[in-house]
């Protein structure tokens, strides 16, 4: 066989591409940033180990003799992680189908397309496993350090979960291609991914809200009902949990299951991959007709034309909607808690308000990037007879308008029940959204909207500032809603973040 077509050669090619993608994601394409990215990774790893110690240190002594409570807890945690893994894997698989990149080259080369796609699926699985292992490692390391090396078996379970998640993602995506076609699969797959990612967490929170009036997902996992209805401790259902606790027979079974499922999925679906990828590549050339309006052109100011354009582009881009859907999905439990609280007449706003404010800040950051940096026709807008300040103002209005539309119902219900809490929540949302927008303004760069997924890599300062600003405004709102003057503290931190952002802004220097 020609070396150029061998499986190992293809695999090394795919893994080299994967590695370079990852490095580019970490360093935003700048070689000079590699060292900084390395230092940042070490700092984050250290921080995560401290965080993991705080979370799991008390469970280090759990063993196979543990009761059902421990098994339920571990299984629930694995399922939570599994839903996120599946969500991520679906994202990767969908992206692989729709990335045209080297499709023409592969399909016109004499190499076996099935073999190439099988290797590509292997790369997706490897990436999913690597991410899972990386995220789980601080927790496993802490448990192993405190409770003994038996906890290292959890690495095997996490790897098996990554393999199963990839296999399930492949099966789900191929199923969507076959049932609804290439045109709709991209949107639906991303929505399904977002729902799966948030679904299990939200489900547990909903159960917790109804059973204990709490947002904590672990309340539901440790409820009497759950423990009463859990399978017997000898059941195969607990094998993954037992494997985590150091049962090597269970570990072997779990890993064998993961590898077999993934191998079966690759063998089964690699034949179809090319066919669906070709269909996906043709989607961009399909015609989408808009409803023909008979009303004619409308009279509007330049600012209104810009705002309208931003809203239309956002509403017509299912991919962008699904990217932001996850953040909105997390609003469902607080909204439900609000409803339950309102119905029962007790005060849980202190829990609810920061969640809503945090979500508003994060959502505004994404929308602000799209509106301010993600301009697909920059020359057109810049050569229009309208001042640059007016253009920016119109784009900011578009972001704030969208945030107001999304969050107004929650604020309205709150105001109806408690005016002070409602107004505090509204002001918190406005502050978090305005701060996130200002951060995006300070770090604005010209980019295409399709680069949205990689916006975090273009400026890590902006990303972290946005997150910490939202947290600070969420804390401010919670303390203010509780009537505590301590709210001044996080508010000062929030303003400090903005001042810092202004000082280091590339536009200012």
């Amino acid at each position: 066989m020609n070396q150029a077509a061998s499986l190992t050669w293809l695999a090394s090619h795919e893994f080299r591409l994967g590695w370079r993608d990852w490095v580019a994601l970490m360093t935003a394409g700048g070689r000079a940033r590699a060292r900084n990215a390395g230092i940042a990774l070490i700092v984050v790893a250290a921080f995560m180990h401290v965080f993991a110690y705080w979370i799991v240190a008390r469970f280090a002594d759990a063993n196979l003799a543990s009761d059902t409570t421990a098994l339920v807890g571990i299984t629930g945690t694995l399922m939570l992680s599994g839903s996120l893994l599946l969500s991520q894997a679906m994202e990767s698989v969908t992206r692989a189908f729709y990335a045209r990149s080297d499709l023409d080259l592969i399909l016109t080369s004499p190499a076996s397309a099935q073999k190439v796609f099988a290797v590509r699926m292997g790369r997706i699985a490897a990436a999913a496993v690597a991410v899972a292992v990386l995220l789980a490692s601080p927790f496993i390391n802490v448990l192993a350090a405190l409770g003994g090396p038996r906890w290292l078996a959890a690495y095997g379970v996490v790897a098996a979960m990554g393999a199963v998640a990839t296999a399930a993602a492949l099966a789900l995506t191929i199923f969507l291609f076959r049932t609804i076609g290439a045109k709709r699969t991209r949107l639906i797959a991303q929505i399904v991914a977002a729902v799966i990612g948030a679904g299990f967490v939200i489900g547990l929170q909903v159960a917790a809200i109804f059973s204990a009036g709490s947002l904590s997902r672990y309340v539901a996992l440790q409820s009497d009902w759950m423990l009463r209805h859990a399978p017997d401790t000898g059941s195969a259902f607990w094998w993954p949990a037992r494997a985590v606790l150091g049962d090597y027979a269970a570990l072997a079974a779990v890993m064998a299951f993961g590898v077999s499922i993934l191998a079966a999925a690759i063998v089964l679906f690699s034949r179809r991959f090319g066919e669906h990828a070709v269909a996906a590549a043709g989607v961009s050339s399909t015609i989408v007709r808009q409803r023909r309006w008979s009303r004619g052109f409308r009279r509007r100011s330049a600012s209104r034309a810009l705002r309208q354009k931003e809203w239309t582009l956002l509403l017509r881009d299912p991919w962008l909607i699904s990217q932001t859907l996850m953040q909105i999905l997390y609003l469902l439990p607080p909204a439900l808690l609000l409803w339950v609280t309102f119905r029962q007449g007790n005060d849980s706003y202190i829990v609810l308000i920061p969640v809503v404010v945090m979500a508003a800040g994060q959502l505004a950051g994404g929308l602000a990037w799209l509106s301010i940096s993600g301009e697909d026709a920059p020359d057109l807008v810049a050569t229009a007879p309208i001042t640059a300040d007016r253009i920016l103002a119109a784009k900011i209005e578009a972001v704030i308008g969208m945030i107001a539309l999304i969050f107004a119902p929650i604020v309205a219900v709150l105001i109806f029940d408690d005016v002070f809490a409602g107004v505090t929540c509204g002001l918190g949302i406005l502050s978090a959204a305005a701060a996130a927008t200002m951060i995006q303004l300070c770090f604005r760069v010209q980019a295409r909207r399709s680069q949205f997924r990689r916006r975090q890599t273009s400026s890590r300062i902006a990303t972290f500032a946005e997150a910490f600003s939202s947290i600070a405004w969420a804390s401010t709102s919670a303390l203010a809603a509780a009537g505590l003057w301590h709210a001044i503290g996080p508010a000062a931190v929030a303003f400090g973040i903005l001042a810092g952002v202004w000082l280091v802004s590339p536009l200012r220097n």
């Binding site: 009279r299 330049a302 034309a305 354009k309 582009l313 026709a377 020359d379 057109l380 007879p385």
Partner: protein, 252 residues
């Protein structure tokens, strides 16, 4: 045409722009009303930089730019009101239809809706976009996207149209349509300044041709004027261009 009898549509005086090295160097250039002016030059000569300064996408380090009697540096909004810009890479919105795109442009230029819609329909018809007027641009070929962008540039009835390599990558039919629309604009009294690498286009379409090299205008005039400068009356524009650029390179 005898250009000098017409009002000045665009006047650049001593315009300079420097990046790592001088990109445009004390450039003087005049385009008259109702004139089709082609700006040609080798890669990196400063053509695109010059045009981007005219439309306000770059600010010159020195010099003045006057569009239709308006100082474009002190009153850019008024200058932009009468100007249109079209680059070689059509920048349009994938999720809008051509009709919606033109409505958006009309909104930006604050054009009366009834007049703008009539103009948009006319342009859509001229450019053969009628069957696709209500389809999103995301599936369009480069030629169709360029036609949509051109319609956007013309919907507000600009007095000065500035184009940077507008025919790059277009098929013969689309290129012909674009050229016809531009000629029509010039006949209607508008002015066009266009950069191009396709010298035949400059030769056939332009009233005057400017040759730019090293950020300076090294020759300017009608095709006959340029021939006279090289002393070879039977030469093509390509020969004349290469000769003038070679002389400039040697002199530099």
């Amino acid at each position: 045409m005898n250009s000098q009898n017409y009002p000045i549509a665009l006047a650049l005086r001593g315009v300079s722009k420097r990046f790592d090295r001088p990109a445009v160097d004390a450039l003087d250039l005049t385009v008259y009303g109702g004139e089709f002016y082609a700006l040609v030059g080798p890669n990196g000569a400063g053509k695109t930089t010059t045009l981007r300064m005219v439309v306000g996408l770059l600010r010159p380090d020195a010099g003045s730019i006057c569009i239709e009697g308006i100082d474009a540096l002190s009153d850019p909004v008024a200058a932009k009101q009468v100007t249109a810009w079209l680059s070689d890479e059509p920048m349009i919105y994938d999720k809008l239809t051509p009709y919606e795109y033109l409505e958006f442009v009309a909104g930006l230029w604050r054009i009366e809706p009834v007049a703008a819609e009539a103009r948009a329909r006319e342009l859509i018809g001229w450019l053969g976009l009628e069957p696709h007027a209500h389809e999103r641009c995301e599936g369009f070929s480069k030629g169709m996207r360029q036609k949509v962008a051109l319609a956007g540039a013309l919907v507000h009835d600009p007095k000065l149209i500035i184009l940077d390599e507008p025919l790059t990558g277009l098929d013969a039919g689309t290129a012909r349509q674009v050229k016809d629309v531009l000629r029509e604009r010039v006949r209607a009294g508008g002015s066009v300044i266009m950069t191009t690498h396709i010298l035949e286009v400059a030769e056939r379409m332009a009233d005057r041709i400017g040759i730019i090299a090293g950020g300076r205008l090294i020759a300017e005039g009608t095709l006959d004027d340029l021939h006279r400068q090289t002393g070879k009356t039977a030469a093509s524009l390509e020969d004349t261009f290469l000769m003038l650029v070679a002389e400039q390179t040697v002199a530099a």
